[in-house]
């Protein structure tokens, strides 16, 4: 199958739709010329590069934002250890990505894992674009943008294992996960040679790669880790500082603009559509969750609002550049309500998903992926058209999207179980009862979050 007609989240930015700047600069003639001759890579666009650089910075900010979002929800004695779970990965995964996993994800590939062509940062140009798909931005910038996704994805898992995991074990596990789970999944879905990518599976900004993968892995991780003592003893577990969580949620919303609209990899109509649908989905997600709380518990909470906007953002992530604004509202609303209900599962099924990663990112990510297949609109993004064709219509697309969800979920779940067991064997994963009661901040890090 000719890669040039493979539907992608990337091509629209570069070929099917001609960047404005090129338009303004070179005029329709050459523009259409590009449209017809994708062989010749399009020129690097400074404007598109600026947009991607800004988006990269925005996604970079999301990991500290996640640290705040999670940090506010745990008990005060674990606030720093929880925040460290996010910050530390900005250290480890950044290095791992540059040296190895970028190549495993985006290097020339058989479809399952990338080659080592870019290992140690080799052959990543700061001037020319990524060689395997047509883009209007330098490869080095594309690699940086993708790096930020690679950082936050394992960090999302940390919410599930909060308040009871050894720091060393956490670092080892997340490093293994970044290499053996994230890189392959990113390759399948986003590498132009990826097998799911070739099936025309649609994932605009990471509903499957980021949210579903982390959400399912979170389930596996907290099953291996077991419940916190406090839960067994039915002690109340109160969030230490919800204002911190609200701040985190606000910064996540801000950063998510880069996450989704930046995934157009150019400043064009796709980017604008993604921005708009992302924003209204977050809005609808917040309202959906608060409504759900109001009906179930008689009151809407601030924590619920913050959780709902994140749920909406999770839901829209795979769909952002493929759907109309009204579909964005619908997706956000569904995600908000669904996740509000889904977080109840852990009580029924008795697993200790401390900060509801499974309920929000697992369920929200899966729902978003399926809704993308249902609502993706060719008038918004011609890639949808190509994807529908190559899958023989809507039914086929939905089916393949579901297959994508199931494969990624199954792989992430099993792989995480194994990696957690390996970590357990090597350095251990669970803190002692004493550490847990005294709090991880003082016992693992020798610090108190607050000395007020």
């Amino acid at each position: 199958m000719n890669p040039n007609v493979v539907p992608t989240r990337r091509r629209p930015a570069s070929i099917l739709i001609v960047p404005f700047c090129a338009l303004a600069a070179i005029g329709p003639s050459l523009a259409s010329a590009q449209g017809t001759a994708p062989a010749a890579p399009p020129a690097i666009s400074a404007a598109d590069s600026v947009w991607l650089a800004v988006s990269t910075a925005l996604v970079l900010l999301m990991t500290p934002a996640l640290a705040l979002f999670y940090g506010g929800m745990v008990r005060r004695k674990n606030v720093l250890s929880t925040m460290m779970h996010s910050f530390a990965l900005m250290g480890t995964v950044s290095i791992i990505w540059l040296l190895l996993t970028y190549s495993l994800a985006f290097g020339k590939s058989s479809g399952f894992i990338g080659s080592l062509e870019f290992a140690l940062g080799n052959g990543i140009s700061m001037k020319a674009s990524y060689p395997h798909t047509a883009m209007t931005v330098p490869a080095g910038l594309f690699m940086l943008f993708q790096m930020m996704f690679a950082i936050i994805t394992p960090a999302l898992i940390s919410g599930a294992i909060a308040e009871r995991m050894k720091f060393g074990g956490y670092l080892l596990f997340t490093s293994l996960w970044a290499i053996l789970v994230y890189a392959p999944v990113a390759c399948w879905v986003w590498n132009p040679d990826g097998w799911l990518y070739k099936k025309g599976v649609l994932d605009f900004a990471g509903g499957t790669v980021v949210h579903l993968a982390s959400g399912v892995s979170a389930l596996a991780a907290c099953i291996v880790l077991g419940k916190r003592k406090a839960l067994e003893q039915h002690e109340p577990v109160l969030p230490n500082n919800i204002t911190t969580t609200l701040l985190g949620a606000g910064l996540l919303w801000f950063g998510w603009i880069g996450f989704n609209a930046g995934s157009a990899l150019a400043m064009n109509d796709i980017a604008v559509s993604a921005f708009l649908s992302t924003h209204v989905a977050a809005a609808a997600g917040m309202l959906g969750w608060m409504l759900c709380e109001k009906l179930r518990y008689g009151r809407a909470t601030a924590l619920g609002g913050a959780s709902g906007l994140v749920a909406g953002l999770v839901g829209i992530t795979p769909a952002a550049g493929f759907v109309t604004p009204l579909s964005g509202i619908l997706i956000g609303l569904i995600a908000g309500v669904l996740c509000c209900l889904a977080i109840g599962l852990k009580h029924k099924l008795k697993f200790d998903d401390a900060l509801d990663v499974v309920g929000v990112h697992g369920v929200g990510g899966a729902a978003g992926a399926v809704l993308t297949a249902i609502l993706a609109d060719a008038t918004v993004n011609s890639a949808v058209d190509a994807s529908l064709k190559s899958n023989g219509g809507r039914g086929g697309l939905i089916m393949w999207q579901i297959i994508g969800v199931l494969t990624v979920a199954a792989f992430a779940f099993v792989a995480t179980l194994i990696l957690m067991k390996i970590t357990q064997a090597i350095v251990g994963v669970r803190t002692t009862n004493d550490e847990e009661t005294q709090g991880l901040d003082l016992t693992l890090h020798g610090e108190a979050g607050y000395n007020l």
């Binding site: 109340p236 709380e293 518990y297 909470t301 924590l303 619920g304 509000c340 977080i343 109840g344 509801d356």
Partner: protein, 112 residues
């Protein structure tokens, strides 16, 4: 010398303070506490997990007075911290051995 201790509602501090002023009692120590008793406690809701915290915020007042003042002070506190709703709290008296004022070393009544 006697120490009067009172567990009161947090928002009634100003009122008690005012009542004490009228008796020219100017010394008091206030402690933030959490208390339970006949009242039901407060509901918290975090991501669908509902907790009823039986311990609710209260203030503990400690006021050292001369024995002859105990009656009026206790009465003043009671009036000022009264709402009639469950949860108003208690007032206790503890008799003290000695009382020393750090700044002067004065003992007993002179220490106040």
């Amino acid at each position: 010398m006697t120490k009067i201790e009172a567990y009161i509602r947090t928002h009634l501090l100003e009122a008690v303070h005012h009542a004490l002023d009228e008796l020219h009692v100017h010394g008091m120590t206030v402690i933030d506490v959490r208390g339970m008793g006949s009242s039901k406690g407060v509901h918290h809701l975090y991501r669908g997990s509902e907790y009823t915290l039986t311990l609710t915020p209260r203030l503990k007042l400690e006021i050292v007075v001369n024995d002859d003042q105990v009656e009026e002070v206790v009465e003043a506190i009671r009036k000022a911290s009264y709402t009639g709703e469950v949860g108003d709290g208690k007032i206790l008296t503890v008799s003290l051995g000695q009382v020393v004022r750090i700044r002067t070393g004065e003992k007993g009544e002179g220490a106040l």
